[in-house]
């Protein structure tokens, strides 16, 4: 039996390690800092929101950028958010800080000349391949090969592989994108960030789910079940669920990544509690 779900840092009014009524505590600390110049209150807020910074930074450390560096960069965004926060506006600090932290991380990537955006040519080829896989699977009555895809797309095999690899990078990035939506998902999920994610909302039915599974939405759980318990292939799942095979592939990868991230967070939390 899984332990009761604790509020995720991303859930509205999430506790972030603060007991009792976090919103009030945040607000009190913010007032103490902004109205009374209490620097200690500011430091406490920074400390409380570090798990949020860490979670956001973890999503973008896939580029080989050291996680700790990104946490430092994210902290700058957090401090800016705390300093600029208007206590008299009815906004939660989490809501205000999240886009600030992500903005700082994005700026960091931009300054280093590492565009998060996938080159347009590869984006287009990836979309084209997704359609071709559907068409060729029907036409050939089997999954197409890489040479067949290259021929159909009039590109080299290496370009096909590169475009497919782009899709993998995207699936990692898209951890931060909403899980619903169709195949025409925005290829730059960073652009859509800044809002709290509905899948992280804690609901009653998820409270009893094991670590990992509870971060998945219904469709993601269904797809994992079909693939790993019913043994359906990606194309069979695509047919059943009514989305493209490439989208199934992305959803499977994203679901597994989300589960791993959640389990890792749980483990870290348990270790912290034990120490």
């Amino acid at each position: 039996m899984a332990p009761p779900r604790e509020a995720h840092p991303f859930s509205r009014g999430g506790c972030l390690g603060v007991s009792a009524t976090p919103e009030r505590t945040d607000r009190e600390l913010l007032r103490r800092y902004h109205h009374d110049g209490d620097v200690e209150a500011r430091e406490r807020l920074i400390e409380q929101y570090l798990p949020l910074v860490r979670s956001l930074a973890r999503r973008y450390s896939y580029r080989g950028e050291q996680l700790e560096d990104l946490v430092q960069v994210g902290c700058i965004g957090l401090i800016k958010a705390i300093d600029r926060f208007d206590v008299d506006r009815g906004v939660e600090l989490t809501t205000y800080a999240t886009p600030n932290i992500i903005g700082e991380i994005k700026r960091h990537f931009r300054d280093k000349g590492w565009s998060i955006r996938v080159p347009r040519g590869l984006q287009e080829l990836n979309v084209k391949l997704s359609k071709l896989i559907e068409e060729l699977t029907v036409q050939l009555e089997r999954s197409p090969t890489i040479p067949e895809l290259a021929k159909a797309a009039s590109v080299e095999e290496e370009e096909v592989l590169e475009a497919l690899e782009t899709g993998q990078a995207y699936s990692t990035l898209s951890l931060s994108a909403p899980s619903s939506g169709d195949d025409n998902e925005d290829l730059d999920p960073l652009e859509s960030l800044g809002e709290l994610e509905p899948e992280y909302e804690v609901s009653e039915d998820r409270a009893v789910l094991a670590p990992g599974l509870r971060v998945l939405d219904e469709r993601e759980r269904k797809i994992l079940h079909l693939r790993f318990y019913d043994g359906l292939t990606q194309s069979q799942i695509a047919q059943q669920v009514g989305i493209s095979q490439m989208h199934v592939s992305r959803l499977i990868r994203r679901s597994l990544e989300k589960m791993r991230a959640e389990i890792a967070t749980d483990t870290t939390d348990s270790e912290l509690r034990a120490s």
């Binding site: 999954s143 197409p144 592989l161 993998q168 599974l213 043994g231 597994l256 589960m259």
Partner: protein, 134 residues
């Protein structure tokens, strides 16, 4: 004697894509299907994400082209991986590494060689060019 491709790369996650591209290149060369490639790459990704490698060492990926399919060896791994593989989580608990690999490939073995433990995955192809998903 089967053809063998060997790649050694740093543990850093940013190099995982290089390993995936090598698997992709082999799939293109041997005309494996997209679904077959997806299975191989997902199995590799899951192993690399597991982090059960010897501390401080690079990761080595070996691909062996056999008559009836491909064998993929990844290592050296720590004994912790054995425990992870044995944990065939039931449905209510999610998808563990054991369950995942059992779906994606035909056989999963841990072997001792070169002073360490290696994970050997075998995936069969019904016939070249029409390689189906597991």
């Amino acid at each position: 004697m089967s053809d063998r491709i060997r790649l050694t790369f740093p543990r850093d996650e940013s190099y995982h894509g290089v390993a995936r591209l090598v698997v992709g290149g082999l799939a293109a060369r041997l005309s494996f299907s997209f679904e077959y490639l997806e299975d191989l790459q997902l199995a590799l990704d899951s192993l690399l994400a597991n982090g059960a490698y010897q501390a401080g060492s690079d990761v080595t990926l070996e691909l062996l082209v056999e008559e009836d399919g491909v064998e993929m060896c990844v290592g050296p791994v720590t004994p912790a991986l054995r425990t992870d593989l044995e944990r065939r989580l039931d449905e209510s608990e999610g998808v563990g590494l054991g369950r995942l690999l059992a779906t994606l490939v035909e056989s999963v073995e841990i072997e001792s060689r070169d002073g360490g433990e290696w994970l050997r995955l075998a995936k069969r192809t019904p016939s070249r060019g029409v390689a189906a998903s597991a």
